[in-house]
């Protein structure tokens, strides 16, 4: 998974929770929760969707990193690298 693929997963996960969420021109450093007015239940659903789409296990400790589009992508890419290294090891 590269950064762009990860960002696509984030977009799909947000759109599953907030249908029609518009990502065109979105600052990747902006808070997703604030931008799309997600409450705590929405955010949990988003994390569930993101974990399912990307095949990544996400814990509560990851939540702060999942605040922005870029932050989410970085977390997913980091996970992908870890699992590649894991398989090699």
């Amino acid at each position: 998974m590269n950064h762009d693929q990860a960002k696509a997963f984030v977009r799909q996960a947000v759109q599953r929770v907030v249908p029609g969420a518009e990502f065109t021109g979105l600052d990747p450093g902006m808070s997703l929760r604030d931008t799309f007015e997600m409450d705590s239940l929405d955010f949990l659903e988003f994390v569930e969707a993101l974990a399912e789409l990307s095949g990544t296990e996400l814990t509560e400790d990851d939540y702060p990193a999942l605040d922005t589009w870029d932050g989410c992508a970085a977390r997913l890419v980091g996970e992908a690298r870890t699992s590649v290294q894991g398989r090699r090891g």
Partner: protein, 443 residues
């Protein structure tokens, strides 16, 4: 013989539109089965049946708006059950004996049709709704029926089905549609006459408008007129009639969050809790301990509720507010509260609440903390007498046992009806809630 009537699905509901029948005459139903979809100004609601037996007759056509309490169907008990009527399956009765006659009269009034001049094509020469519709000589000059007022300018409809024999053909000049469908069409910028209706007789339903909007990619500004108006009416009534008083307290959330995080770490995502599950459960248990604030204000004063039905204020995307209820919120386990909360919010926003989720909350909680504010002093939903407002959980310097530390804290407020209770009673509720959150394992 039992009657299935138009239910009251909230304090602000006077009438509803029978949007869709999910049963046909002859079908067997069991108490609790969802048998119809009713649309109010705010949303579509799945309505459960309160009797078991066989559907004898559907008294109201799909697409008809009737006052709360109007009989919609007759249900025979098992002993009374007879074989299904000879009407082809999938077709509701176009007209049924006595109960629907007023509807035909009203339709005739709306359309300025003289019933004496209409030939009845129903059994025994009865005048049916279709007869009245077909008797309309100049549809363009006819005043629009009351419930069409919010619709975009109707253009002559292309009937989805051109089968004259059904009696369900839409009259020229109007699009058969539900109020919610019309509201959505206005909000989403969809031309109602361009939408293919999938309801009986080509009735355009809310789902059809959503599909059409998605297909068009139409994302225009949302102006939720009907929902806004419903909220406006209820809140104005509240401020007019209820002498509110307000209390506020700061709750240390360290113990509750620590317990929740430890629990969540061991569980899959789908079973994890959010802080609202804990705070809502604490409010519900506190309401049980202070029954003076859990109930309704009526003509004879305060009437305590028999159970805690916790109303949950849910903001709709694009504006508007609904407050469906979590039944027995004080006795549900935390995972049950969490699951019920997820279901409630998803249904409220998806426009598919269950009737059992909308009836008579005994006390409401609003959790505006999720939207970032630290405190909310809400307006009570009449006829309830109290509303608890929860703010955002924020880290603040707090003195604990003589030492200064940084702790997560929550501002909890109470808006209460001074006719029903005094400040001391309100204080007991907030204090009870605070105490419960200090022992999260007991929730």
């Amino acid at each position: 013989m039992a009657e299935f009537t138009m239910p009251s699905l909230g304090a602000d509901m006077d009438e509803g539109m029978l949007s869709e029948w999910l049963v046909h005459p002859g079908d067997r139903v069991t108490r609790g089965d969802v048998i119809a979809v009713v649309e109010t100004a705010k949303s579509a609601i799945e309505v459960e049946c309160f009797d078991s037996g066989t559907v004898k007759a559907l008294l109201v056509d799909e697409g008809t708006t009737v006052p709360v309490g109007t009989p919609l169907a007759r249900i025979g008990t098992t002993a009374e059950a007879r074989p299904a009527e000879s009407r082809p399956a999938g077709r509701p009765p176009v007209e049924s004996p006595p109960a629907s006659t007023p509807l035909v009269r009203r339709l005739a009034e709306d359309r300025h049709v003289d019933l004496a001049a209409v030939h009845g094509s129903g059994p025994g020469g009865r005048i049916t709704r279709a007869d009245v519709e077909h008797a309309e000589p100049e549809p363009e000059s006819a005043p629009a029926p009351e419930r069409e007022k919010t619709a975009p300018t109707p253009r002559p409809a292309k009937p989805a089905r051109s089968d004259n024999s059904t009696g369900e053909r839409p009259a020229p000049g109007r699009v058969k549609s539900s109020p919610l469908a019309r509201r959505l069409a206005t909000e989403l910028g969809v031309e109602l006459s361009d939408v293919v209706g999938t309801g009986r007789g080509g009735t355009v339903r809310a789902e059809d408008v959503r599909s059409a909007a998605a297909a068009e990619g139409a994302r225009r500004p949302v102006i939720p007129d009907a929902a806004r108006a419903a909220t406006a009416r209820l809140m104005s009534r509240s401020k007019r009639e209820i002498p509110h008083f307000y209390l506020s307290t700061t709750v240390d959330m360290a113990a509750a969050l620590e317990w929740m995080h430890a629990r969540n770490r061991e569980l899959p995502l789908s079973a994890r809790l959010v802080p609202a599950a804990l705070t809502f459960k604490a409010v519900a248990m506190a309401a049980r301990k202070v029954p003076e604030l859990n109930g309704h204000w009526g003509d004879d004063g305060f009437v305590p509720a028999e159970e805690v039905r916790l109303g949950v204020a849910v903001s709709l995307r694009g504006g508007g507010l609904v407050a469906p209820a979590l039944a027995h919120a004080d006795t549900l386990s935390l995972p049950e509260v969490m699951a019920a909360l997820k279901d409630l919010v998803a249904r409220a926003r998806g426009g598919r609440l269950r009737a059992s989720q909308t009836a008579d909350p005994s006390l409401t909680v609003t959790n505006l903390g999720d939207q970032g504010v630290e405190a909310v002093f809400g307006v009570i939903y009449p006829p309830q007498v109290a509303l608890v407002g929860l703010g955002r959980i924020v880290e603040r310097p707090v003195a604990v046992n003589g030492l200064l530390g940084v702790r997560p804290v929550l501002t909890a407020t109470l808006s209460a009806d001074h006719r029903a209770a005094d400040g001391a009673t309100g204080a007991r509720l907030l204090t009870a809630m605070d105490r419960l959150l200090q022992q999260p394992e007991e929730l």
